[in-house]
Symmetry: D2
Subunit: 144 residues, 4 copies
DNA sequence: TTTT
DNA sequence: TTTT
């Protein structure tokens, strides 16, 4: 009943801002769409075709708050998590929504950093350093 | 236009047989459900809870045919691929179905091998050796 | 200063028993060799060639103790961790030893389980269930 | 004898230029060091400590040539490959050198692109587009 | 619905 | 030997 692995690794760009939802009791959840692209050459026409894949990213609690604080539309991130398909009903019919529950994230660009112009590399050379790697342990100090 | 990654790694058990579909022109597709389990301890009751996650696995052409030949319900496999959400309409309403398009697979148990009793390790010691690792290159020889 | 990833995923077989070392203060470390195989067809002779790759696995504290208790030579495991190359000197010359520091592990077969005959699947159907998935959180309860 | 996985995923920065070596017969190999960083808080002093890990990246043939053409010291890349430890002898003593044989790579920044100022995003808006994702198939067209 |  |  175990001995299984459910792991997702994504590098993509935020298609929108992080949307937060706060629960009673102090828990919180953040959601944002992440785009990955697949490019290939058409066998028929020979032209380059790009398919966009949209992933529903879900983050929780401290990681959610760090995402909301530092990430914005267009930023690039590395995400590691698991696939989770939720089931719900509409008019008595089953529907499915697949999310990526992310536990670990690394920022590959952070436009929200005020002193930063275009890349996370630049950001590390000034005093306002956003966290670039976010660990799984929720009780840790902020990685500054 | 790229610089993105969409990667899924799963280890799980087949929930059903591989269902094949053959296209005109020689292409084929195989589908099967794969179960992964997540076990955790409830904070309320302290009991162990297991959630099952079902993944819609899609394989193509030679890999599909190897899967159909060697895999059966209950077998354990390692899968590597990408997430793909297809959109379709029902009564004018958008629906989404998420699949895992698998390119690489490793068999961790293969009940269909006739000389095999319980594990793929045993299978490698006789003459009827199923492939245990299936490469991405479709034009390769079978890995026997 | 960050924004980097160092991740290793291995599925292989233990080449020897887990060797434990206990430190003063209660910490412990376990080490064992893990074999992965790469099989390919020789372009010259056309015969199948198998290369064995040996990985120096290092586990710590609770995970080390679970490994020692349940794993034995020949068992198959899934390991997730990071690469770490240690530097040392012999006769004033630098030497390097590369280890895989494993944080997450899933047992894919466990011969040490007394009620088990050949695979972890069988093991889950009786009362003596070894842990098959070991989480990163050291403070967690044992996953029974 | 199989059913194993040997997979490495790295995101890091080039510590030096790509060094090429060409073989008779047309094959080529490229090598470069890649740095990943691990940052943690010391339990003793409470200060942030960064450890650098250096990986010996090895790429072959077309991928090697693309790396040499587009990558330079300091660039950030995503690498996917396998661990390979080579054995050699010095004065009759065995020595080991661990490499990462990389088959797939994604460029996360490319300073060598002449029209590019600081990031790969900018690069995609002009006519001199470096490849950002490099597939495994050696016989493919260049991903332009 | 959307990123680069 | 080195990157950010």
């Amino acid at each position: 009943m175990a001995g299984t692995i459910n792991k997702v690794i994504l590098i993509g760009h935020l298609g929108d801002e992080v949307k937060m939802h706060y629960f009673e009791g102090g828990n919180s959840i953040g959601r944002f769409p992440l785009a990955t692209n697949e490019t290939y050459t058409s066998r028929q026409t020979g032209e380059r075709i790009t398919n966009v894949e949209w992933h529903n990213i879900v983050v929780r609690n401290k990681l959610a708050e760090i995402c909301e604080k530092y990430l914005t539309k267009g930023d690039r991130v590395y995400c590691e998590g698991r696939i989770k398909t939720r089931q719900y009903e509409v008019d008595g019919q089953k529907r499915y929504a697949t999310e990526i529950q992310v536990q670990d994230m690394t920022f590959l660009s952070t436009k929200k950093d005020p002193n930063n112009t275009s890349s996370s590399e630049a950001a590390t050379q000034n005093n306002s350093i956003p966290p670039t790697s976010i660990a799984k342990e929720e009780d840790d100090d902020l990685p500054f």
